[in-house]
C-alpha cells in the first residue's frame, strides 16, 4: 500500500506539479500522522514477528479468558500436547523422566504407603479376631515389641524389606543421604553412618584386611546390612529378611549413577551435603519390599501330620475293630462252653469285662482268653463257682469223686448213675455209700457191675472142687505122688479163706470119699468115709486146722466114670471137695 501511494504522485504530476506539491504538503499535514499510524498498524499486522510479539502480550490473558468460558481451548490443545510429549520422549526420554521423577517418586511412595497402611489396618481387623496359634504368638510378640499387631503379621509375611539406605562419604564417614521406609523406627543416621564406617575401619585394622576390601554384609539374625563400596561413596542398606543377590546389583548400579552425577561435588567435598539431595531419588529406589508368596501347596509338615493322623486313626480303627471282633469271638466261645453261665458283659473304662458262674470242671476261661489274642490286661473277669447239672459234668464230677478203676464204665440215665464192668468189692461198697452225696445223682445201679473179689472166690471154689485125691484099691491111704496136689489144695483153701473173709462170707469144706464098684456097698461106705477122714487129717497136717471141714462117705454111689477099665476104677477111688459158702463168717476154731 505504501508503494501504491508513492506511485500515485507521479500520475498526478502532469496536471499541476506545484499545486500538487502543495496539496501533498497539506495532505501530509492533515493525514500524515494517521497515515504513519496506519502504516505502522499495517506493518504490525503484516510482520509475523511483530504480530507474534503482540499476541504473546495478550495470549496468557486470552487463554485464561477462554478457559473460563468453555473447554474448547483445552480440547484444541490436547492433540498438540500429546504430540509434543510423544516427540519429546522420542527425542530424549530422560528429559521428561527427570522432570517427572521428583513428582512421581513421592506420588508412588505416598500411594504405596497409603495402601500399606490400609492393608495393615484391614489385617489388624481381620486378625484381631482370629485365634490361631500363630495369631496368639504374633500377638504376644506385638505386646513385647510394642509394634502394632498388623505390623508383626506383616513382618512375618515379609520376604525382605530394605528399611534404611545410607549414602556415606567413604573417607569421612559423613552421611550424605539417608532414606527410611515408611513406619520404620530409626536412630540418628549421622551417628549410625559414622559408626558403620568406624566398624569397617575397626575390622580392617583388627584383622589386617587390605584397605581396599570392605565388609560386604553384616548380619544379625534376620537383619542384614549390605555395604556397597564405591571409590568415594558407600551405600549401606539395612534389610530385614532375606534379600536376593540381585538386589546387590541394584545397589551397585545406584551407587554408580550417584558417582556419575556427583563426580564434581565429590571432588571438592568439604562437608556440604546439600548437593546430594539431587541423588535422593536414586537411593529411594533402593527401598524395596517384597512379600512372601502365598504358598499354594500345603506344607509338607501338614502332610506328615495328616499321614500320621491317618495311620494312627487307621491303626486305632483296625485295633479297635479287631479287638471288638476278638471280644465277640471270645464271648461266643465262652457262651458255647458247658459249665459256664455268662451273666454280664460290657466295656468299662476302656476295658472289657465279663462276669458269671463257672463249674470248677468247666474249661478255664483264661485259657480261652489266652487263645483269643486279646490283651489279657484289657479284660476283667469275675467268675462265681457253681455245680452244673449237665450229665457231662455230673459224670465228670462222679468220676472225680469215685475214682473208678479202668474196668468200670459210668453212665448217667436221668439222674441215676449206672455202673458197668468189674470192680473190686471194696470200691463197690464205697460207691454205694458215696454216690448219693454227689450233686446231680439221685440213684445208683450196679447190676452190670461184676464184683471181682466174688469172681476170684468163685474161681478158687471151682478149682478146689475140680481137684480129686486118688487111693489104691481097698485102702484109705493116698496113692503115692499126690503130695503136690495136697499142698496146692491146702494153699488154695487158704486163699479162699482170705477172699471169703474179705467179702464177709463164711464157708466150710465138704470132703467126700468115694470107692469103685468092687466090694459091697456097706464096705464101700465105710471105706469111702475113711478115705475122707484121711484127707481131712492130711489137710489139718497142712495147717488147715482152723477151717471148718466136714467128711462124708459116698461109697460108690457118685462114680466119676462108668467102670469099664481098670483106669475107670482107679478114677473112682477118690476124695472130692465141695465148698459151701455162707453169708455169715464161720465160727473160729471149728474142729473136726
Amino acid at each position: 500500500m505504501n508503494d501504491k501511494h508513492t506511485q500515485d504522485k507521479p500520475n498526478e504530476a502532469p496536471h499541476d506539479s506545484a499545486s500538487e506539491d502543495k496539496l501533498a504538503e497539506i495532505r501530509q499535514l492533515i493525514v500524515g500522522p494517521e497515515r504513519a499510524r496506519l502504516a505502522s498498524l499495517e506493518e504490525r499486522l503484516d510482520n509475523p514477528k511483530l504480530l507474534a510479539r503482540d499476541i504473546s502480550g495478550i495470549l496468557p490473558e486470552a487463554v485464561v479468558l477462554r478457559s473460563s468460558q468453555d473447554k474448547k481451548f483445552a480440547t484444541a490443545l490436547t492433540p498438540t500436547l500429546e504430540e509434543v510429549i510423544r516427540s519429546s520422549i522420542k527425542r530424549d526420554p530422560k528429559t521428561l523422566v527427570s522432570a517427572l521423577f521428583p513428582v512421581m517418586g513421592p506420588a508412588i511412595r505416598k500411594a504405596i504407603t497409603e495402601t500399606l497402611r490400609g492393608m495393615l489396618q484391614s489385617l489388624n481387623q481381620a486378625l484381631e479376631k482370629s485365634l490361631s496359634v500363630d495369631g496368639l504368638k504374633w500377638r504376644l510378640e506385638a505386646m513385647r515389641t510394642g509394634k502394632s499387631f498388623g505390623e508383626v503379621v506383616l513382618l512375618h509375611n515379609l520376604a525382605y524389606r530394605v528399611e534404611q539406605v545410607f549414602l556415606i562419604h567413604r573417607e569421612t564417614g559423613l552421611l550424605l543421604q539417608h532414606v527410611v521406609g515408611a513406619e520404620i523406627a530409626f536412630q540418628d543416621a549421622d551417628m549410625v553412618s559414622g559408626m558403620l564406617t568406624a566398624i569397617q575401619d575397626f575390622i580392617r585394622d583388627s584383622f589386617g584386611v587390605e584397605s581396599e576390601n570392605v565388609i560386604e554384609s553384616i548380619q544379625i539374625g534376620e537383619f542384614t546390612v549390605w555395604v556397597t563400596q564405591g571409590p568415594e561413596l558407600v551405600l549401606a542398606a539395612a534389610i530385614r529378611g532375606t534379600a536376593p543377590e540381585e538386589l546387590k546389583l541394584v545397589f551397585q548400579e545406584t551407587l554408580e549413577n550417584i558417582h556419575l552425577e556427583q563426580s564434581r561435588t565429590l571432588e571438592s567435598f568439604d562437608g556440604d551435603t546439600a548437593p546430594f539431595e539431587g541423588s535422593r531419588h536414586h537411593i529411594e529406589a533402593c527401598l524395596q519390599t517384597r512379600y512372601k508368596e502365598k504358598k499354594q501347596k500345603t506344607s509338607p509338615l501338614l502332610w506328615v501330620v495328616l499321614a500320621v493322623l491317618l495311620v494312627s486313626l487307621g491303626a486305632w480303627g483296625f485295633f479297635s475293630v479287631r479287638n471288638h471282633l476278638l471280644w465277640a469271638d471270645y464271648l461266643e466261645k465262652i457262651a458255647a462252653q458247658r459249665g459256664i453261665v455268662v451273666t454280664e458283659t460290657g466295656k468299662r473304662d476302656g476295658r472289657y469285662f465279663i462276669a458269671g458262674f463257672r463249674d470248677p470242671l468247666a474249661v478255664d476261661p483264661s485259657t480261652l482268653l489266652g487263645a483269643s489274642k486279646l490283651d489279657p490286661e484289657k479284660v476283667q473277669s469275675r467268675w462265681e463257682s457253681y455245680y452244673s447239672l449237665h450229665p457231662e459234668f455230673v459224670i465228670a464230677r462222679a468220676r472225680n469223686v469215685l475214682n473208678p478203676p479202668e474196668t468200670v464204665s459210668l453212665e448217667l440215665q436221668d439222674t441215676v448213675l449206672h455202673a458197668a464192668g468189674s470192680a473190686p468189692h471194696r470200691w463197690i461198697e464205697e460207691v454205694r455209700s458215696l454216690v448219693h452225696v454227689i450233686p446231680g445223682i439221685a440213684g445208683f445201679r450196679d447190676e452190670d457191675l461184676v464184683d471181682t473179689d466174688m469172681q476170684t472166690l468163685a474161681a478158687s471154689k471151682k478149682w478146689i472142687e475140680e481137684h480129686n485125691l486118688f487111693f489104691p484099691e481097698g485102702a484109705a491111704g493116698l496113692v503115692a505122688g499126690q503130695d503136690d496136689t495136697v499142698r496146692a489144695l491146702a494153699k488154695e483153701i487158704r486163699t479162699l479163706q482170705d477172699r471169703a473173709r474179705l467179702l464177709g462170707k463164711g464157708f466150710s469144706v465138704e470132703i467126700k470119699g468115694h470107692t469103685d464098684r468092687s466090694g459091697s456097698e456097706e464096705y464101700n461106705l465105710v471105706l469111702s468115709r475113711e478115705r475122707a477122714d484121711f484127707v481131712r487129717s492130711v489137710l489139718v497136717a497142712e495147717g488147715l486146722g482152723g477151717i471148718s471141714m466136714k467128711t462124708v462117705g459116698a461109697g460108690h454111689s457118685e462114680p466119676l466114670r462108668e467102670e469099664v477099665t481098670v483106669q475107670d476104677r482107679e478114677s473112682n477111688r477118690r476124695v472130692s471137695f465141695n465148698i459151701i459158702l455162707t453169708d455169715a463168717s464161720p465160727p473160729e476154731g471149728d474142729g473136726p
Binding site: 564417614g173 552421611l175 536412630q187 540418628d188 549421622d190 549410625v192 566398624i199 562437608g271
Partner: protein
C-alpha cells in the same frame, strides 16, 4: 547442610568422653570405646546463620599399653586434642599425638588443645610457661572443664570456625583467628 568429621584425641583418661557426654547428642554406649575403640557422637554448632553438624569420633585414649587407632582419623576435618591439666604427662602425650596426626595427614589440620579438668585448680599441674610456649607456636589453647562446662561449647565453636575457615567456605572471617583463651 555442612557436616564435619572431628576427632577427640588425647591420652587415656583425660576426659575426652566426659567432654562429649555432657555436650553432645549420643546414641551409643561408652562400651564401644573399649570394644571398637571409638564412639560416634554428634554436635550441632551454629556459626552465624549457618548450622554445622559435627560428627564426633571419640577415639579411645592412648596410654602405655594402647596405641591410638590412627585409621579412625581418616577424613577428619579437625580435632580436639585433650590434656588432663592435673597430669602434665598427658600434655607430653598430646604433643606426640599432634605430631603423629600431622604425619598421618601429611599436613597440619585444625585442632584445638583443651586443657581439661580446670575445675581441679588445687592440683593443676601445668606451668604457665609450658602453655605459653605452645601459644607461641600458634596453637589454639583453651581451658575446659567437663564438670562445670567451662569452655566446652566455646571449644567446639572455635574448632568449627577454624575448620570452616580453613576449608575456604564463605564465613565471616573476622573470627578466623581464635583468641587464645587462658585463665588469668
Amino acid at each position: 547442610m555442612i557436616q564435619k568429621k572431628i576427632c577427640m584425641v588425647g591420652a587415656f583418661a583425660v576426659g575426652k568422653t566426659s567432654l562429649v557426654t555432657r555436650f553432645v547428642k549420643s546414641i551409643f554406649s561408652e562400651k564401644y570405646l573399649t570394644t571398637v575403640g571409638v564412639k560416634i557422637d554428634k554436635k550441632e554448632v551454629r556459626l552465624g546463620d549457618a548450622e554445622v553438624t559435627l560428627v564426633l569420633w571419640d577415639i579411645a585414649g592412648e596410654d602405655n599399653l594402647t596405641q591410638m587407632r590412627m585409621s579412625y582419623l581418616r577424613g577428619a576435618s579437625g580435632y580436639l586434642l585433650v590434656v588432663d591439666g592435673t597430669r602434665p604427662g598427658t600434655l607430653e602425650t598430646a604433643i606426640t599425638l599432634q605430631k603423629k596426626v600431622d604425619e598421618f595427614f601429611g599436613k597440619e589440620i585444625p585442632f584445638v588443645l583443651l586443657l581439661n579438668k580446670r575445675d581441679l585448680a588445687d592440683i593443676w599441674g601445668l606451668a604457665d610457661e609450658t602453655v605459653g610456649a605452645l601459644v607461641e607456636r600458634h596453637w589454639t589453647v583453651m581451658e575446659t572443664s567437663a564438670k562445670t562446662g567451662q569452655g566446652v561449647e566455646e571449644a567446639f565453636l572455635a574448632l568449627t570456625r577454624m575448620i570452616v575457615g580453613a576449608s575456604g567456605t564463605a564465613m565471616s572471617t573476622g573470627e578466623r583467628h581464635i583468641g587464645i583463651v587462658c585463665d588469668p
